[in-house]
Symmetry: C2
Subunit: 340 residues, 2 copies
C-alpha cells in the first residue's frame, strides 16, 4: 500500500465534491489501485486546515455532509510552505477559481508545489493556459507530473484518449464541442427558443455562471483546445494564439437558415494542421450529418481526433457537474501512480 | 533510447500491416517515446525469419512493398524457443488466425513468450477468450503485461478508456456495437436492402470473411464483450458464459417495424450488473433516439460505459482495416514502456 498525501487548494463546489469523493472512494483506491489517499490539508480563499497528526480531514467532510454552514477552526495563518515542509510529497489538487489574466492564485500554488516535488492535478485553467511550457518544464526538472483532465472537459477523457489511445499516431486535426453551456444554448435555439431563454435555463440549472461571458464569448473553449493541442499534438500555444469567436451574435435566423440546409451550428474548438503549420481556433461552424459531432446536443460535450493510422475517433458524454470534475481529478491521481 | 525487440507471430493481412507500420513509425517512436522498435523475427504458418545480427527485417517489408509475391529464405526449422534464447525480452505480437476451439496457435505462442518474460500485444482472440485468467496470472507471475487492444475493436480504444479514463469509477454497465459487419448489414436493411445484398457488399468490400458466421452469429461480439468486461470490470467470464444471439434470423419486417417505432435494431455486446451479479450477453436490441449508440451506423463501432461518478462515456470510430489493427498493436507496445 502506497500512502499518497493530498493537499487541496480551493474549497468551492469542485473542491468540496473532491473532498467528499476521495473519502467515498478511499477503500476502493486501496484495494484496486494500491494507493491510500489521505487528505492532509485544505486551503480556501481565507485560511486553511492542516491535519498534521490525524489520518485525515474527515471531520470537514462530515460537517459538510451534515449540512452545517461551515466548519470551525480554519487557520488564517497557515501557509502552503509550512504544509509542504512537514509532509512527504504527494499530489496538489488545484481547484481555485480560473483567472485568465494573471493565473492566480493557481500559478503561485503550482509553482510552489512543483518546487517541493509534488505532482499536480488541476481543475483550474488560468496558470496552465498562461504558463504552459514554463510549468511543464519545471515539472520535468523536478521529476513530477502535471495532470489536467479536470481543466480540459473533466469527465470527458480528452487527454487520455489523445495521448494514450492514439500513441504512435499523428494527430491530423482536432475538433471539439468543449463547452456545455454554449452547446445547450445553440441546441435550444435550434428547437425554436431564444438566446435569452436558453441562457436563463443554463443559469437556472446551475451550469452557467452568473456572468457567463467566459463561456459565451468562447474563452472556455479556447482554453480547452489550447491545453488539449499542447498536450496531445505537441504545440506550444499560449492563450493569445487562439483565434476565437463566441455565440453572442447568433440570431434565430442564422440557426434556421443552417437548419434548412440540413446542418447545425456548433461552437467548435479546433486544431487545424495545414502545410506543416498548426493553428488553434474557436469557431461557430455549420456541420452536416456526416460530421461525427452532428448529434452532440444539449449540455453534452465531445471531441474528435483525426489521425493518420486509426481514422477518426470521437469521445462523447461525461458528467459536467462538480462530481464529474472531482472524478476526473481522482482519475488523474490514480494514473500518476503506476499499478503494481 | 530503450531498444525493444519485437517478434511477430502471423504474417497475414494484419501481420504484414504491422511489419510495415513499425518500419514507417520507427523514427517517430525513437523521438517521441524513447523506444527503438526492432523487428527481430517473423513467424508465418510455415517457417520463420530471424535476424540475429542485422538490425532489422527490413528486407521482408521492402520486398512486400515492391509487390513481390513472396520473400525468399523462410527457415522451416526455426523455433520460437531458439529466438527467445538469443534475445533480450521484448514484445511478442500475436497476429495468428483466431481459433475459438483450442486457441491455437496463439495459446502456445503466448504461454511460451510469457515463460521467457516477454510482454504480449495480441490481435488474435482465441487464446485470451479461452484462457483469460490463466494467462493473466502467468503474466503477473513473470512481471510482464498482456495487452489486447488489437483483439477488442482495434483502433477503437475500448480498453484504454475503460481502465485508464474511468480509473476510480464503478462500471455500472457496458453496451457496445463491436462488430462492423453486422452493423453494416443492419444499417443496409434499415435503408431497405436485404440481408443477402448487405452481406455481399461486406464481402466485396473485404470486411467480411468468405465464411462470415463468426460475425453473423455473434461470436465476434461475444469475444470482445467478454475480454472488455474482464479487463475493465474485473469479471472472470469465459466464452461459454456469454449468452449470445446473432443477426441471421432478422427479417426486413422486423427492421421496418422497429423503424416505425422510431428505433433501430443493433447487435449489442453488453455487460449487465444487477443485484450484485454480472452477466455478459450479445443481443439484438431495439434502441431509441436517446441511446448514445443510436447514430452509430454502417461499419462504425462504438462502446458506452455507464459509471457512478462520470455519467456515461461513449467512444466511437476507429479504423477497422489491417492498418488500424496494426496501429492498435503499436499503441499497446508504446504504452507498455513508461515514458521518461
Amino acid at each position: 500500500m502506497r500512502p499518497v498525501n493530498i493537499v487541496l487548494m480551493g474549497f468551492g463546489h469542485v473542491g468540496k465534491a473532491f473532498a467528499r469523493l476521495i473519502l467515498e472512494k478511499r477503500e476502493l483506491c486501496r484495494e484496486r489501485y494500491g494507493i491510500d489517499l489521505t487528505l492532509k490539508a485544505i486551503f480556501r480563499s481565507k485560511g486553511g486546515r492542516f491535519s498534521r497528526h490525524r489520518s485525515d480531514l474527515t471531520d470537514i467532510v462530515e460537517t459538510m455532509a451534515a449540512g452545517a454552514p461551515d466548519c470551525p477552526a480554519w487557520n488564517l495563518n497557515l501557509s502552503l510552505d509550512e504544509v509542504f515542509s512537514e509532509l512527504e510529497p504527494g499530489v496538489l489538487v488545484e481547484c481555485t477559481p480560473t483567472d485568465l489574466t494573471k493565473g492566480e492564485p493557481g500559478l503561485g500554488n503550482i509553482r510552489e508545489a512543483l518546487a517541493w516535488k509534488w505532482h499536480i492535478a488541476a481543475a483550474s485553467k488560468g496558470a496552465l493556459v498562461l504558463r504552459f511550457k514554463e510549468l511543464m518544464d519545471q515539472a520535468k526538472t523536478n521529476g513530477v507530473q502535471i495532470k489536467f483532465s479536470g481543466a480540459t472537459a473533466a469527465a470527458l477523457p480528452t487527454l487520455d484518449v489523445g495521448t494514450i489511445s492514439l500513441a504512435g499516431a499523428e494527430i491530423l486535426g482536432i475538433e471539439g464541442i468543449l463547452t456545455g453551456v454554449t452547446n445547450l444554448i445553440l441546441t435550444r435555439m435550434e428547437e425554436g427558443g431564444t438566446f435569452k431563454e436558453a441562457l436563463k435555463e443554463a443559469q437556472d440549472r446551475g451550469i452557467a455562471e452568473p456572468d457567463p461571458s467566459l463561456d459565451i464569448d468562447g474563452w472556455d473553449s479556447a482554453c480547452k483546445i489550447q491545453l488539449i493541442s499542447n498536450a496531445v499534438a505537441g504545440t506550444e500555444f499560449v492563450l493569445s494564439d487562439i483565434v476565437l469567436e463566441g455565440i453572442g451574435s447568433v440570431t434565430p435566423e442564422d440557426i434556421q437558415k443552417t437548419k434548412k440546409e440540413g446542418r447545425v451550428l456548433k461552437l467548435l474548438g479546433r486544431l487545424v494542421r495545414e502545410g506543416g503549420k498548426s493553428r488553434a481556433e474557436v469557431r461557430l461552424t455549420a456541420i452536416g450529418k456526416d460530421h461525427p459531432l452532428f448529434h452532440v446536443s444539449g449540455t453534452n460535450k465531445a471531441i474528435t481526433y483525426f489521425t493518420d493510422t486509426m481514422g477518426y475517433i470521437t469521445v462523447s458524454g461525461g458528467k459536467s457537474d462538480p462530481r464529474g470534475t472531482a472524478a476526473a481529478l481522482l482519475k488523474d491521481i490514480i494514473n500518476i501512480y503506476p499499478r503494481g
